[in-house]
Point group: C2
Chain length 148, copies 2
């Protein structure tokens, strides 16, 4: 899967990652640094929250999905990203959940300005061990074309 | 600013954070764990990239903006977020950049289903020491109403 260039991406292609288990300490460590809300950092307070227990920061969930997706090798020739058009946290991610990520090609657009690159629009998603989609993101990546 | 409830947010209100300097080691540490692309983790490879030097992972930039925004206290009664509708990485964030975040209230909608909460739509942005907006995010938060 490694070493893909812009031309290699076709609408409908999907890239599926390996799986990774999220631990309680990862959830608390990330949130303590970046998203210090009680339902992400405090087991006792989380029990009283609408989640009924500790849940991963949404930003942590996004970071984990992209870490899994980068491991597929699909973005080895990625030059950057202008942004996301839609991001949905669909289900909480809890300690012990085992996640995998999927990227589906929605659209490919060669750059008009730069001969050496193009934009690929992906729908990314992250899924848990119960078959639930926990995260959905639509976003663009700028990918290098094959060297001539 | 602490302890704000749904009713306290009015369209046009803005909440501005303190400032924080991003270091090279923070950028490399985050990216090594979550976004291991060469322009985020490898100083030499980053020099050859389109960025011309090391830049923070976009997901790290989002995490930093929310960490700064949470420090304002505006989201102390936050119950969670369904997602973002638009996210744009406008400028690279580089080692030594000093950032602050701003949240502007765009819309407030009481919940029809739950008497005790409402949704606030924010435009978040993150800004560097040169006055450049580096990140723009439109997203929703579900906030508790004042206890009766």
């Amino acid at each position: 899967m490694a070493g893909l260039y812009f031309e290699d991406f076709k609408v409908g292609d999907t890239y599926k990652s390996t799986r990774m288990t999220v631990t309680e300490s990862q959830i608390i460590d990330f949130a303590t640094q970046y998203d210090p809300q009680p339902f992400h950092t405090n087991i006792e307070a989380a029990k009283e929250s609408i989640f009924g227990g500790l849940v991963a920061s949404g930003i942590h969930t996004v970071a984990l999905a992209f870490r899994l997706f980068f491991m597929t090798g699909a973005l080895e020739n990625n030059l950057g990203s202008p942004g996301f058009d839609e991001l949905r946290w669909l289900k909480p991610v809890r300690p012990g959940d085992t996640l995998f990520a999927v990227g589906e090609v929605m659209e490919t657009t060669p750059s008009k300005k730069h001969d050496d690159r193009g934009t690929v629009r992906f729908r990314y998603s992250s899924h848990n061990q119960k078959g639930e989609m926990v995260l959905s993101v639509i976003g663009k990546q700028i990918l290098k074309k094959k060297p001539i």
